[in-house]
Symmetry: C4
Subunit: 252 residues, 4 copies
């Protein structure tokens, strides 16, 4: 794969991932959305199928990592870090494009939600902003070590599933069925390990949209919760490295 | 593929698509339906599996576009417009047949819903009619540019997923697995981008049933909201063209 | 396939189908079930995966029709009725075994439900019995022609999807992926066309368990609604024949 | 397969299975979890995708039994018990590791739930503990024979589906699609047969976490319900043996 294909694939793929993933959070959260209150199953299937769509679309260009934790896990496994910067750059750019597209698609819903005293009254303005959850993750209970541990555990499952894929999939990597399996692995992590922190399990998925949240001209948006922002970056990177270690010891 | 196979395939396929897609809207909406109130997940899985069923059934006849936006996207990509009129004719005819079959299957439910003061009282009679949502889409917040943008964005995701399918699927186009992946892409778009406008993402899916709504002898049916009708036609067509452009630049 | 394999396959397969399909109705309906009130999505996915499990298990023995409407549709398509009686016998026997196993698995729940004045008070005792819905289907609005039409339409979709399967599936008939696709076709029909009558779309699925309901020693079980019983038999058989006709005209 | 690969595969696989399966119970049950109250569909899909993820990950190492009932069923079918002790040891160790990881991931949620008088007041402290359901199963109605029968019936379906897999799957055993089919079989059993006892259908899944529940330093955790513990061990083992018998008679 050429560097330009990798960059293009990761940018397009991560943009689609965050457009659809952030989109389902907007759909379920915001006032005047037809999906308002559709619940946790909608969120988890929404993110799972977002991964499937994005992976399926861009696997032929870049292998569809779409996640720095996956990129780091594969780099450790293969001992090859040469393309890592290109992957990370595409992922961060794509995540920011995706989050911006969510804002475009839900423009009126954001305005309605953030200017209505009733919906605003449901949420605290100070600290994490009222619609920050559409962009980035946050914990239900703030506890640095637990939050970090939960993100690490979730990412180990994700990256180990990606790394072991070649062992079953006739060595063809992320093909059609691989995209489907990966989607349901992500649904599984969401259903089972998403309760405490909202399962970032992807540094670009969390950091890119948080930057966009800080930049967008949203009324009453509140803070971007930067004090928490390092956990959904560090946790998934540590998790990806641990998964590569488990893979090397048990599966290689 | 012969013109008659294309016409037959698109007519049958789009009829099945709209029968099942409109059907789930009727099932979840109408009084005296066992599925009443089953929620947004039911709607989105219902439409997704409607696409799967219709695509799977008719892929061998016409390639199963079932959507003018897909037809236009493929025509731009291939530079071949020769069969486009046959595809569009089959899609429009099929959509109208499908919407009529929904009326047959839910005949008593439509009557019960539209003659009961209680269910009718939940909805405004003037403007968009009380059961128009079973046939066609409508926005939660009326804003021409946002509504158009949301339909464009959703359709770009759909058509780009269809166009890139050949790249992963061993070049065989819409086979068995392709039907499944496409189904979940449609579920994804519904969950993530359906909140503002109800995700037409298909001109035939919206216009055909709207015509049927205008023609059917339903009591108290109210207006067919023709002032909005151009958006779910124009948005998806623009989206299909943009997807073909992205495909040509990034994937070809 | 030998007659004994066909009989064995259809008996086991239909028993598993009705055990799991009737099971989800019991799970969602009966007092003291952990799944009580899980809703229409649970019902439709439950029946869909019941079909998948049963088809997948027995496809190698009998081709896994598990439904007289499928058997009749295939017989018309192939012009071969020689094995039809064996298929039907296995399907009816299997359906009755399956319904009996539901009663065993939910023995205490049936007792609790049918002896508690509160749950019994929710439902009419005269006419269709309070737990008849765990065994057989019934309409929300009694209207012979609509009820028949809805069952016909649903079954046309099902049988046409089964008949066209060979066209996409490399001619291998009901293989692994076929079981999955068929499952989601059944979920689709349930979500979209199940609202008016509860989608029998299978004469054995409805008649076999209705006979078991009439025979089982359940307290306060009420009537078995025999006046409706012919519709979920006749409708699916007509639907299967129409599907075979459409297949012959459009796909063969 | 070498003994060490089997042990490693079963340990890792069952740990992932119980981490994700116990995780979804924690997510839906515990106070301060984002998924609290997500319902029975979330539970059943959560366990299904837990099986898929674990099977997919470890099929190349050990064949991914992850369940003593599967191991016993296969041993009876093949008449080869030589590796059974290694399988069982890995499964029990893995289940205990998985349950401990659930405790780590939901550490704060367990504390919050078990120290809040309101959530504690919803549940009985004496007898089965208030969070025991996150670890192990328990019946809604205590009835030894029904509870045992329900577990046997559920496990027959599971193990028969596993044993017949090779018949459709080109003899390749638990490949990629096999993992997906098995996942949905487990969802099906959960939806349809989980109502009375919570569908252990796997002795290691129930006994391993119950031991961990007894050992973990959880405040106000109550008893581990040891009087019931033999049923979700004996029932699935009997079910696995019956499935092997049916397989030998009908399918071999």
């Amino acid at each position: 794969m050429s560097s330009s294909d990798i960059f293009l694939g990761e940018t397009i793929g991560t943009a689609v991932l965050i457009l659809l993933g952030g989109g389902v959070c907007a759909a379920v959260t915001l006032k005047s959305s037809k999906a308002r209150g559709a619940g946790w199953l909608a969120i988890t299937f929404g993110w799972g199928f977002a991964v499937m769509t994005a992976v399926y679309m861009t696997a032929s260009l870049s292998g569809a990592h779409l996640n720095p934790a996956v990129t780091v896990g594969i780099a450790i496994k293969d001992g090859d870090w040469s393309n890592v910067p290109v992957y990370l750059a595409g992922q961060m750019l794509g995540a920011m494009i995706g989050a911006t597209l969510v804002w475009v698609a839900y423009y009126g819903q954001f305005r309605a939600h953030l200017t209505d005293p009733e919906t605003l009254g449901e949420e605290p303005i100070e600290g994490p902003g009222p619609v920050l959850g559409v962009f980035s993750t946050g914990p239900e209970i703030r506890n640095t070590w637990q939050n970090l541990a939960t993100e690490i555990i979730g990412t180990v499952v994700l990256v180990l599933a990606v790394l072991t894929q070649g062992l079953n999939d006739s060595g063809k990597g992320l093909g059609v069925i691989g995209a489907l399996i990966t989607a349901f692995v992500v649904v599984s992590i969401g259903l089972s390990l998403g309760g405490p922190t909202g399962y970032a399990i992807n540094p670009a998925r969390d950091l890119g949209p948080r930057i966009v949240h800080a930049l967008l001209p949203l009324p009453n948006k509140g803070g971007s919760d930067w004090s928490y922002a390092w956990i959904p970056v560090a946790g998934p990177l540590i998790g990806g490295a641990i998964a590569a270690g488990i893979y090397t010891i048990a599966f290689a």
